[in-house]
């Protein structure tokens, strides 16, 4: 359910490091909690965000939630497909429903949660 090569945050974002850039999205748990997603607001390319800063928002039929930067990052590209089809985030949150590609600074990915730690976290939130 939660890929081992991804890292996770307590705010329910995931980040996956590639060669030159990293990909950020929200987790399956997050999309389930939000319900049907109807709108995504993403930043413009080139914008920089500090760790924990809100870089966009996701609107479901129930609420609007911020999405937070897992680490210090600069936006390289945004997923324009999810802007047109926000339901992709519900359907494939860890894949086609990715949100932004970013350039990371000297950030330490290991400071984020591993898949095991994240699953532990959400099992507690469920209770």
């Amino acid at each position: 359910m939660y890929p081992d090569d991804y890292r996770y945050t307590k705010e329910h974002e995931w980040i996956k490091k590639g060669n030159a850039e990293a990909t950020v999205g929200i987790t399956t748990y997050a999309q389930k909690e939000l319900g049907d997603i109807v709108y995504v607001e993403l930043p413009t390319v080139g914008k920089k965000f500090a760790m924990g800063e809100a870089f966009g928002s996701i609107e479901s039929v129930k609420a609007v939630s911020e999405i937070y930067a897992p680490l210090e990052m600069e936006i390289v590209s945004v997923n324009s497909t999810v802007v047109d089809q926000p339901e992709l985030i519900n359907q494939d949150p860890h894949g086609k429903g990715w949100l932004v590609k970013v350039k990371l600074g000297n950030a330490d990915l290991d400071s984020l949660l591993s898949s095991g730690e994240y699953e532990e976290l959400i099992s507690q939130e469920k209770h």
Binding site: Y39, T44, E59, A63, V64, E66
Partner: protein, 447 residues
């Protein structure tokens, strides 16, 4: 909800329940020297009949537009309100209801708001409109805030000095603590916003340009030209309308290329009153849907396929999103918006257009007659308002004419010191030709 004052017995019981002997004991935490022990000097109570007479005596001291020949405009316009409007909005279901917080139970209210939004879209040439705002000035300010939400990385707002002075004040108040620089653009000899100053003011950090048309001088702006330039620069265009009756004949903000239209509904079935209650409107293009402030009613179908209405996009409002809400307005001017809806449906497209034409004709006749006794200050085209330049201080002239039961207009020196001798004159379908001729002869004598 009924209001029943507490009886002596109620008070005694409440005091005894909380274990206090008397009202004095209840208030003993207030130091003695701060407690008022004297007697209030109210006059003796009136009987109903005496009170009625008293209120009539007070009312008879008022001067008002039906007693006078009135040429007052400048944001509050004397138009005829058909009896139908007040009769229908006085129905208890409408008169006593508030903006719906348990909305779907009030289908009638939601349908009325939906129709209001539809009318606003039709007359402003836009895709979407909200459920109404407080008034024209607050709509103007909300439009600027909305433009900033669309262009969060920009910091400069160009506002024409020919925008209603009160609207400009409210814009300044709403934006006082935001990192926004407001640049006021001068007007030129035609009474329009100065094109050269606009072009010079337009930078790549400009959020939006704000024009009013017809502007405070009654002059119709070259909106298309300025808005096209703003668009090329990546800035938004806001078209303000204080005199909505003009939309019956002038090109709509949408046709002029505006991204947002905002303004005052008073001309559309609301009495001038004492300056309120009025309603504001705000409309925009589909692309900016998520940034629109306030409430929005949408049309939907229920499980059985029947047409119904819902409050939509509420997830962005402050009762759900707190400090991150799109705006701080969670209400609307329900009753006034309803009056506007009834008024516009009563007039219909043809009636709305004929009314505008009537205003244009009356004002153009007045311009001709009055230009014999005073100079026209600006050369730009007008709808139903224009500026006369008198030979002396307009304030004193207005005072003199008031004594003869004429509200001659608004002396512009109040807002524009350089226009001390100038008078803003408004002529609507409520004015008679004889009143215009009387104004001309009295103005000639009073200057």
């Amino acid at each position: 909800m009924r209001y029943i004052p507490s009886s002596k017995e109620d008070i005694r019981k409440m005091l005894s329940d909380i274990g206090v002997n008397s009202l004095d004991d209840l208030f003993q935490t207030i130091p003695n020297e701060f407690q008022f022990r004297g007697k209030f000097s109210f006059p003796a109570a009136f009987s109903e009949q005496e009170l009625n007479q008293h209120l009539w005596d007070l009312a008879n001291q008022n001067e008002h537009m039906m007693k006078f020949a009135s040429f007052l405009g400048g944001g509050a316009y004397h138009h005829y309100v058909p009896a139908l409007v007040d009769a229908l909005i006085s129905r208890g279901e409408f008169l006593t209801s508030y903006t719906p917080y348990q909305p779907e139970i009030s289908q009638g209210t939601l349908q009325a708001i939906f129709e209001f939004q539809t009318f606003v879209c039709q007359i402003t040439g836009m895709d979407i409109a909200n459920a109404s705002m407080y008034d024209g000035a607050s709509s103007a300010a909300e439009a600027v805030l909305m433009a900033r939400r669309v262009k969060p990385d920009r910091h400069r707002v160009l506002v024409s000095s020919a925008v209603h002075p009160n609207y400009r004040k409210v814009i300044a108040t709403y934006t006082a603590n935001l990192p926004i620089e407001i640049i006021e653009l001068p007007y030129d000899e035609s009474g329009k916003t100065d094109l050269a100053a606009f072009e010079k003011g337009l930078r790549d950090n400009t959020i939006c340009v704000v024009l009013q048309s017809p502007n405070y001088f009654g002059v119709i702006e070259d909106q298309e030209k300025l808005f096209a330039a703003a668009r090329a620069n990546g800035a938004l265009s806001i078209s303000l309308i204080a005199e909505a009756a003009s939309l019956g004949i002038l090109k709509s903000p949408g046709e002029c290329g505006a991204d947002l239209a905002a303004g005052e509904c008073q001309s559309l079935g609301l009495h001038v009153g004492y300056g309120g209650p009025y309603a504001g409107f705000l409309s925009t293009r589909q692309a900016y849907l998520r940034n629109i402030p306030g409430r929005l009613v949408g049309q939907a179908r229920d499980l059985q396929g029947r047409r119904g209405f819902v409050l939509t996009l509420a997830a962005r409002e402050q009762h759900i999103r707190r400090e991150k809400a799109t705006s701080n307005i969670c209400t609307n001017q329900g009753l006034c918006a309803l009056a506007v809806t009834i008024y516009l449906s009563f007039l219909g497209a043809e009636g709305f257009r004929s009314l505008a034409i009537r205003n244009l004709q009356m004002a153009s006749y007045a311009r001709k007659v009055l230009s014999r006794v005073a100079k026209l200050r600006f050369s730009g085209p007008n709808f139903n308002e224009f500026v006369l330049q008198l030979k002396s201080d307009a304030e004193a002239v207005v005072e003199k004419l008031t004594a003869n039961k004429i509200f001659a207009g608004i002396p512009l020196g109040r807002y524009y010191p350089e226009l001390k001798n100038c008078l803003l004159v408004c002529v609507t379908e409520m004015n008679k030709k004889s009143q215009i001729e009387q104004l001309a002869s009295e103005l000639e004598a009073a200057q």
